[in-house]
């Protein structure tokens, strides 16, 4: 067996998807070839680490909340109350949901601070609450240096044309910090001659990678 054959069969071998004959020939090669042996050890170590990769549990109350929202949505034809609560005279306003599902109330100051951990994507949620449907509004984003919109590489300026419906329109921004962000993110929603601008500041945490 050649090293190339081993590489091709490594996954099948790890998953126990080889017959006895192939298994013997792979084992024979591993005994003779230190390179493939270390490749195999690496793969085994990675598989072991993946098997124990923990996942978070939902926050307390999430299960109840999610189930009751699902059943209430069908039972009640009434409009959800939040529209009335946040409803405002201006065409579009914003509620900023900082990552992890925590929503904050709209304050007079439109600048918000979002905490990001270096290299760890977090979804920031903005809600545009529109008093009326808006056709072909333009949403543009200017990202500060070192903050990326996941999936858009290092593009700093992005814009979309989008229809807003009356009520809540959710904008999800999966953001990841690649370094310290000095400037603000500017989100501008424009329609016709008017526009509204929102600014986000970032606090980038180094995820305990400094030796503190």
């Amino acid at each position: 067996m050649e090293c190339r054959d081993f590489t091709l069969q490594l996954d099948d071998y790890l998953d126990g998807r080889v017959d006895a004959v192939r298994q013997r020939s792979i084992q024979g090669h591993l005994e003779r070839c230190p390179n493939c042996r270390s490749r195999h050890q690496h793969a085994v170590a990675l598989q072991a680490a993946l098997r124990t990769l923990p996942a978070p549990t939902p926050h307390p109350g999430f299960v109840d909340q999610a189930l009751s929202r699902a059943t209430r949505a069908a039972l009640s034809s009434a409009h959800p109350t939040w529209r009335a609560v946040i409803g405002m005279a201006i065409a579009a306003t914003l509620v900023l949901g900082v990552a992890l599902g925590v929503f904050l109330a709209t304050q007079p100051s439109p600048v918000r601070t979002v905490a990001l951990t270096l290299e760890r994507p977090e979804t920031v949620r903005l809600i545009f609450n529109s008093a009326k449907p808006l056709q072909a509004a333009t949403l543009s984003l200017a990202l500060p240096e070192n903050v990326e919109l996941v999936g858009y590489g290092d593009r700093r300026e992005l814009s979309w044309q989008t229809d807003l419906r009356k009520g809540g329109n959710l904008l999800r921004l999966p953001l990841v910090a690649r370094g310290t962000a000095k400037d603000e993110l500017v989100a501008r929603l424009s329609h016709g001659g008017s526009s509204k601008t929102f600014r986000l500041k970032f606090e980038v945490d180094n995820a305990g990678k400094s030796g503190m």
Binding site: D11, D15, S38, H42, A43, L46, A49, L50, L53, P54, A55, P56, T57, P58, H59, G61, F62, V63, Q65, A66, L67, R69, A70, T71, R72, A73, A74, S76, P80, T81, W82, V85, I86, V95, G97, A99, L100, G101, V102, F103, E119, R120, P121, E122, T123, R125, I127, F128, L139, W160, R165, G167, G168, N169, L170, L171, R172, L173, P174, A207
Partner: protein, 191 residues
């Protein structure tokens, strides 16, 4: 297995739905988090799935093995959301969603969760983040959650050959992103 009792049949749909789904929500959330890598997105995904499932309560009652079936529904919803976001980042709120201000959840990523995160986990999560959604899904479902490729054929609705090659590419990418030296270093750090 006893037949469905008249008592059970007479119960309102809400309790049937809750009885069936309550034990599954954490499982759905975990898969959603594995797919998306984000708490906020996992919550949204699970909520969207539950909203869609409630009107199908009668159908749910007849399903024998609920988990793989739910995993498939969740995955479809995830694929839809990825596609939709590629078109426009703006989504409308699902009907019935409350005022987010009324339902402020507790901090979800509090100090305990932070402390739990090992050095290890950070590296693996960062590497998973760099796989495309299809590769990440098959890898986490197979190598983390322990589903077989045959089970995943049904859940992810893709042929075995396709899944095998996705898994193969995903693992190759992870091995390249997480070199062996990192593993030995990890053992030292973790004692």
């Amino acid at each position: 297995m006893p037949p469905v009792s008249p008592y059970r049949r007479a119960r309102p749909a809400t309790s049937n739905f809750e009885d069936l789904l309550r034990p599954q929500v954490e499982y759905l959330y975990r898969l959603a988090w594995r797919f998306t890598g984000s708490v906020a997105d996992a919550e949204d995904l699970v909520q969207d799935v539950l909203l869609k499932l409630y009107p199908r309560t009668q159908e749910l009652l007849k399903i024998e093995r609920l988990r793989p079936w739910l995993a498939r529904v969740l995955y479809r919803q995830y694929v839809d959301s990825v596609r939709q976001r590629a078109r426009s980042p703006i989504a409308t709120y699902a009907e019935g969603e409350d005022n987010p201000l009324d339902t402020l959840p507790a901090m979800t990523d509090g100090p305990e969760e932070h402390a739990e995160r090992s050095w290890w986990r950070e590296h693996i999560l960062a590497a998973l983040e760099r796989l495309n959604p299809e590769q990440r899904t098959v890898l986490t479902m197979h190598d983390v959650e322990g589903y077989s490729l045959e089970e995943l054929e049904t859940i992810l609705e893709a042929p075995l050959g396709t899944l095998k090659s996705r898994l193969h590419r995903a693992r190759q990418r992870l091995r390249a992103l997480l070199p062996m030296e990192l593993f030995s270093a990890g053992e030292r750090v973790n004692g």
